[in-house]
Every structure is written in C-alpha cells, then in structure tokens.
C-alpha cells in the first residue's frame, strides 16, 4: 500500500493472488508415496457469504456448476456456515475413492465463479483434508492433517490440530511436513501467517 493510500486512508481488500491451487494435485502423490499422508477424500472452500440477493444467486449457480463438473466422479457438494459467519462449501469424493484432482477441479470451479461474479476478494481459503498414517512422534496413526490454501497470498501451509486437546496444534508435525514437501508445494514462508482454523467440518 502506497503513501497515497496511507494519507487518504483508502484501502481495498486484496483479490486472490495468482493461482497456485493446482500445486496440491501433483504434490499429494509425493505425500502419499513418501510420507504416508493420504487424501481423506474431502476439501472445502471458505468465503464470506454476503447477505445480498446477487451473491445468493451466484452461490446457487455455483453449486450447479460443481454438480455438473463433478457428475462423472460423483463428487457431492454441501454447504455449512461456521460460528464466525463464514460459509464452507464442502466437496466430498464418493466413499473409498479419494481423488484429489477431482476435488481441486471442483474447488477451482467454485473459486472461479465467485471471482467472475466480482466477489473474488471474499474468498478466504481452501482446505484439503488428509489422513496421517505415519504416526510418528507419539501420535496415533490416522490423525487429520489439513493443507490450507490462502487465496490472498497464493500460498499453502499445513495445519495439524491436536486430536486430544481442543484449540491446540501440533507445530512439530507441521514443521516436519514443511521440511518434507517444501520442494513440491509453494508454502507460506512466514510462519506467523500459518493461521489455524478451528472446528474444520471435514
């Protein structure tokens, strides 16, 4: 933000950064093969739902787009509002057939239609759910690992909530994952921007 914007107190919300969402659709192969982090078959996109009729109709169109693109792979779509007033549009693969490519295409279609309707700055993040089968560091195998894509910055970061303690994260595991996949996924370099998301519904 420039001096002029500071002086005039003007501030526009940033739109989405150049798209690096699709990095996950190749990075997950290495995660699965080398680090025993397997896709859980669900992903979600999080955005501020504006209480306007135009935005509501955009959302309805969007769900239809996703249903149409997900038709062959039988990806299901549902929406949920969280306590912070953000809307989660959740995409799920059919049981037993996780498919990260399908999810990525679906999430991208949702983001694309929000953007083309002129609401790109409302996008917060996309979340992909994984299952950690490695079970290192005293953790039970099968814990959730999330990869969060920050739309404002176009960066990814891992988020591992502690399954035993609410509102706590396993930073050690996150840093291990960071070291393991830094070459495959464009990660957020500033650790203080690895914002947690509590109560992820996937």
């Amino acid at each position: 933000m420039g001096l002029r914007d500071i002086l005039t107190g003007r501030h526009a919300v940033k739109g989405p950064a150049p798209d690096r969402l699709f990095a996950i659709s190749t990075a997950y192969v290495g995660l699965q093969a080398e680090h025993q982090i397997e896709p859980a078959g669900a992903a979600a996109i999080v955005f501020q739902a504006l209480a306007t009729s135009d935005f509501e109709s955009t959302l309805r169109d969007m769900e239809e787009v996703v249903r149409a693109t997900g038709g062959d792979s039988a990806t299901s779509v549902s929406t949920e509002d969280d306590s912070y007033g953000y809307r989660w549009m959740i995409l799920r693969n059919p049981d037993g057939a996780p498919n990260v490519e399908d999810l990525t295409v679906g999430i991208n279609a949702v983001a694309g239609s929000i953007e083309s309707a002129g609401y790109g700055e409302r996008l917060l993040c996309a979340v992909f759910a994984f299952v950690d089968r490695s079970g290192g560091g005293g953790r039970a195998p099968g814990a959730r690992v999330y990869f969060i894509y920050n739309y404002k910055r176009g960066d990814w970061y891992p988020f591992v909530p502690d399954p035993d303690h609410p509102q706590q994260r396993l930073t050690e595991r996150e840093l291990q994952i960071k070291a393991q996949i830094a070459s495959e996924l464009p990660l957020e370099p500033e650790l203080e921007r690895w914002f947690p998301l509590w109560g992820i519904p996937i």
């Binding site: 739109g15 002129g118 921007r193 914002f195």
Partner: protein, 304 residues
C-alpha cells in the same frame, strides 16, 4: 484475471476532504516553520525537545497506554473466539497477526495501538466481548484493523507534531518571555520577536487543533468504511455502534477518566457527555457514521 467489479462505490468526497485537511495543516506548518526560522536560533532547543517528544510518542505511546490502561495480552487459549475473529480478518486483509489484548473493564470499547503493522496491539474491553454478537465484534475488530492498515496512529502522531510544538512554544514564551522579560536586559526588538512567536504559536495551535480533530473524524469514517469492505457486513458494524453507544452512557465515570487520553484510538469516544460542537470532536457523531454505513449497505445490496 477476470474483470472485477467492486461491491462498494468510491467515496471521493471523503478522500477530498481528508486531502484538503492535510493540505491546510501542511500549509499552516510551513508558515509556522518560516516564522520560527525568522525568529532565530532561540527556538532551536524547543524544536529538539519536541522531536524528542515525538519519538517517545511514536515508539513508546503504546507501551505507556498499555501500562496505564491495564491492558493484558491474551493467548489464543484464553480468548479463542477473539483470536479466531482476528485471525480470519488478518487472512482477509493480508496482515500479519497483531498482539491481542483485553482490558478488564465493563465499558464496551476497542482500540488499536502501535505505529506499524508489525508492532500492533488490538484491544477489546471485557464489556465489548460480552455485549456484542460475533458478527458485530468482527465489524468492530475490522474497524480497528483498518486503523492499523491505514497507519492512523502514525499519521495522527506525525500530523500533530507541529501542533504540539506550537503549544510548547506558546507555554514556554508565556512563562519566560511574556511575564518578566524586561528584567533581563532584552532590547525592544527581542521583546517584539518573542511576542510575535507567541502570537503565531497560539494561532497555529488553535487552527491545527481544529484541523486535527477534523482529520481524526475523517479517519474514523475511513475506518468504518474499511471495516465494511473487509467484512462485507456494514450493518453488523452499525448495529455494534448502536449497542455500544446505548451502554456508553451508563458507565461509571472513573473508568472514563482513566480512558480519556486514549479516546482518539477508541471506536467510540470514551466521554459520556455530548460534545458542544461537532468541530471539537475527534469522532464523528453516531448518526453520521450510521448514515455512512447505511449508504455502504445499500451500495452492497444494489451491486446486483
């Protein structure tokens, strides 16, 4: 990237008023510096003292304020809700996360402190946390974060620098120059010079005071607007302002006096009494803020 259409229109009037105010302040300060230089080196010491004060204000005001206000930093485990709201807003605004603090008082209010985005503390009082719904609290926090984004603490501190200087000179000259100047063997020229500097300083101080108050009000409007743009919910902030103002009047006065010095950075001024004239207020009147938020809401709804 697809062509983006903004959900909110521009507020050119506000921008123009703000730039105009700053221009007038700048002009006033230039004249003032000119007079100081013409008056000679005697004022040099005062300028140095004033610069020192400015630095203290820039680098220490948040710490002083935090110490006197009983501000307590809180961890995510203590206040998960507040941290959650602020974290999401930070993602949305692409800001690093500020420190989060709570003031244990029943008066509902919030403020942001610190000169830069890296050294910011966002505070909420216990009263506001209990009073507002999550959406309203989000609106208030977005207002405070917009102050951070707009660097309002820095802008206001710098803008008021020469006003502070002028008031110091006026006091100094009154004390040493006006009362018993003759006894120290000064010539009449020197006497007149001191009187001139005193006069100019008083005038500069008076005018800049009004201009600064106007600037502060415009920055408040800009922060309200920024909050609406950030959350997409102008009416949530309006409702929060209504709730806060409704309870402001019933607050015990002891808290208010302690909070007095902080009012420029609060979301609503800490005083209970109505201002005599709006030009002396550092916050715009509630009705005007509500009207501005209502315009934003109708722009949003009309975006179809």
């Amino acid at each position: 990237m697809a062509k983006r259409r903004s959900s909110f229109g521009k507020d050119t009037g506000l921008q123009a008023r703000m730039v105009m105010t700053m221009f007038l302040l700048g002009l006033l300060y230039v004249v003032f510096i000119g007079v100081l230089f013409a008056a000679g080196a005697a004022t040099g010491l005062i300028v140095i003292v004033a610069v020192g004060l400015l630095l203290v204000q820039l680098f220490g005001s948040d710490k002083i304020a935090m110490a006197t206000m009983g501000v307590k930093e809180v961890s995510p485990a203590e206040e998960p809700e507040l941290h959650g709201i602020i974290e999401r807003l930070c993602v949305q605004a692409d800001l690093p996360k500020p420190r989060v603090a709570v003031i244990e008082t029943s008066m509902p209010n919030a403020c942001a402190m610190g000169r830069s985005q890296k050294s910011t503390t966002v505070c909420a009082t216990r009263g506001i946390l209990e009073l507002l719904s999550p959406a309203e609290l989000e609106g208030v926090m977005a207002h405070e974060l917009t102050h951070v984004i707009n660097r309002d603490v820095m802008v206001m501190t710098l803008a008021s620098f020469f006003a502070t200087l002028a008031s110091m000179i006026a006091q100094f000259a009154l004390f040493f120059g006006g009362g018993f100047g003759g006894g120290y063997g000064r010539s009449r020229d020197e006497e007149e010079e001191i009187m001139l500097v005193l006069l100019v300083s008083v005038i500069v101080y008076a005018i800049s005071f009004l201009l600064l108050r106007a600037l502060s009000r415009y920055r408040e409007f800009a922060a309200d607007r920024g909050s609406a743009v950030l959350t997409g919910r102008p009416s949530a902030l309006a409702s929060a302002l209504l709730k806060i103002s409704g309870t402001m009047e019933q607050v015990p006065s002891q808290d208010l006096r302690r909070a007095e010095g902080m009012s420029a950075f609060f979301i609503l001024p800490a005083r209970t009494k109505k201002s005599l004239m709006n030009i002396f207020a550092d916050h715009p009147p509630l009705e005007k803020r509500l009207a501005a938020l209502e315009r934003l809401e109708s722009q949003l709804q009309g975006a179809a």
